[in-house]
């Protein structure tokens, strides 16, 4: 079993009468890319800040790299990096100077700066100040800044927020590369499940401060996978026809509905066989539950997502 990097146990945070986090319990193991999904105000950033020790919890416990006491947690945080909300940079400093500051903060050598600038495609920024960078460049610099201390666990809060489509793809590639090349465990948040689905290995859906579902990539794919939806009044005969066709992966959903999970490109053949067997097919076609719909179904249909 791989090592547990982060374990939160019933973590709650209350602001006045508002419960920003309500008994949040998750576990992140080494090598995971854990996607925290939730609409704006769901508590994603609050939870990330608690992990980083920027805000205190009102209830619950946190475990980082096996450490649970205050001093141990503080020590464990030296093995982590974060970029929460907007990229936290010194606008008057260049990319290199920003990295030098973070290297000094972490008490690490400046040797890696050139590699990181190259990795984040910022090596040609020269004397350009961070305030004159595009949002994409600032996001990349913020990530470079978190990497200077060689973290084992990276926390990225909405890293693609405000980026254009090419910037989003680029950011996704960067994160994927960090995981593959450096073996970093990542916790990243987004309010778009569709976007996270292209990178995350595990998901936690945070809604109104509560984790309402944790699911792996494989299980999510199963729950939202594509299928042929067949609607007929004679389900029993339809099953016989499917068996004769050699279709094995199907599910009788109701007295009138069957979901077929294979031969998705062969709907015409299936339809022809059903019609030739004198069955009334009222509807047949491929369909897929969109990730957004899946999310909305879980969260009760908030249209902002």
């Amino acid at each position: 079993m791989s090592e547990t990097i982060l374990k939160s146990m019933n973590v709650s945070k209350i602001y006045g009468k508002h419960k920003a986090l309500d008994k949040v319990s998750i576990e992140i193991k080494r090598g995971m890319i854990y996607g925290l999904i939730g609409e704006n105000g769901a508590g994603k950033s609050t939870f990330m800040r608690i992990i980083m020790g920027l805000i205190t919890t009102d209830e619950g416990k946190m475990e980082l790299f096996g450490e649970t006491d205050k001093k141990g947690l503080q020590h464990a945080r030296r093995r982590m990096g974060q970029s929460i909300e907007t990229p936290a940079l010194y606008p008057e400093l260049t990319a290199r100077e920003n990295l030098r500051v973070q290297a000094a903060n972490g008490g690490v050598s400046e040797r890696e700066i050139d590699d990181l600038l190259h990795l984040m495609k910022l090596e040609h920024t020269g004397k350009k100040k961070a305030k004159n960078f595009s949002l994409g460049m600032r996001q990349r610099l913020a990530i470079a800044s978190t990497l200077i201390t060689n973290p084992e666990f990276l926390i990225l809060d909405e890293p693609t927020n405000g980026l254009d489509p090419s910037g989003i793809v680029e950011m996704r590639e960067i994160i994927q590369r960090l995981v593959n090349e450096r073996g970093i465990t990542v916790l990243l948040s987004s309010h778009l499940l569709d976007e996270l689905s292209q990178i995350a290995t595990h998901y936690g859906i945070l809604h109104k401060g509560k984790i309402i579902k944790e699911i792996s990539k494989e299980d999510l794919a199963l729950e939202t996978r594509q299928y042929v939806e067949l609607e007929t009044s004679e389900v029993q005969q339809a099953v016989t026809v499917l068996d004769e066709l050699g279709v094995k992966d199907y599910e009788v959903k109701s007295k009138t509905e069957i979901h077929i999970y294979e031969r998705l490109d062969d709907v015409a053949t299936i339809n022809r066989s059903l019609v030739l067997a004198n069955l009334d097919v009222s509807r047949i076609g491929t369909t897929r539950q969109k990730l957004e719909d899946y999310f909305l179904q879980l969260t009760g249909g908030n249209r902002h997502v």
Binding site: R78, T86, A88
Partner: protein, 259 residues
């Protein structure tokens, strides 16, 4: 702590605000010596008790002469220097690495203290040089042994400034915003600068004013024997102010949520 100070050094080496502060402290004595020379040319007679600095030797009192200006300039610098860390979110970079909040606070206080020392040193040195050039080095009346006097006076005056620096740092960490911090620092400076004058008029509050460092900075004569006799009291009040404000500042900062 030393790592955090190394980071501050990199930030300050590119800081335009620091350049502005040093620029002000460099130019201020030159403007003042020109102004004094014009007044003298127009027949004004310089009196040490009134004009504070009248020659190179009394240039050691440049902090006393420019107390309010120094405090306002330094409070503005500290407000930006700390407030921007909160506003840019860069404070998270250091704290999320597991750095202790007390160390972070103390590194900011130490940096502010060093910048203030540099500022008042530049101001005093420029004051002594420029007044010496125009009015000669001369001497300070009632003072026979100049060097020990100069060292004691400068360190006492700097300690009085440092006490305020410590309060400004505390205010900046609590307000978490450059603008708001600047307003509160100005209000603190103005209030503690002018309230003692009112308190001095009353019997009951007369002694309360002696617990404000501004009372010494604005209302005491540092070139008199009586003034010299109160140096230990000034140092004590300054140290107590630094200790109390820093302790309170660290306690409050430890309880603060960082956005």
């Amino acid at each position: 702590m030393f790592n955090l100070l190394a980071a501050e050094k990199i930030k300050l080496s590119r800081s335009k605000k620091l350049m502005i502060v040093i620029g002000i402290f460099l130019l201020l004595p030159i403007i003042q010596v020109v102004n004094t020379q014009l007044n003298v040319s127009n027949g004004k007679e310089l009196v040490q008790a009134v004009d504070t600095v009248i020659n190179g030797a009394s240039g050691i009192l440049m902090i006393d002469k420019n107390g309010l200006t120094i405090l306002l300039v330094i409070s503005a610098f500290i407000s930006f220097f700390i407030g921007e860390e909160f506003q840019n979110g860069t404070i998270r970079n250091a704290l999320s690495l597991g750095r202790s909040r007390m160390h972070y606070y103390l590194s900011k206080l130490a940096t502010a203290a060093i910048v203030s020392l540099l500022g008042v040193f530049v101001l005093t040195a420029m004051g002594m040089i420029s007044f010496s050039i125009v009015f000669g080095f001369g001497s300070v009346a009632e003072i026979s042994n100049y060097l020990p006097y100069a060292m004691k006076t400068f360190s006492t005056l700097y300690l009085l400034i440092l006490a305020n620096v410590s309060v400004y740092v505390m205010i900046s960490f609590q307000t978490k915003n450059s603008g708001v911090s600047m307003v509160w620092c100005f209000l603190y400076t103005i209030a503690t600068g002018f309230l003692p004058d009112i308190f001095q008029q009353t019997e009951n509050f007369k002694h309360v004013s002696d617990w404000f460092t501004e009372t010494f900075l604005f209302y005491y004569d540092f070139a008199s024997i009586e003034g010299l006799a109160t140096y230990p009291e000034m140092n004590l009040v300054s140290l107590i102010t630094i200790l109390l404000s820093s302790t309170l500042g660290i306690i409050l900062f430890n309880r603060t949520d960082i956005k």
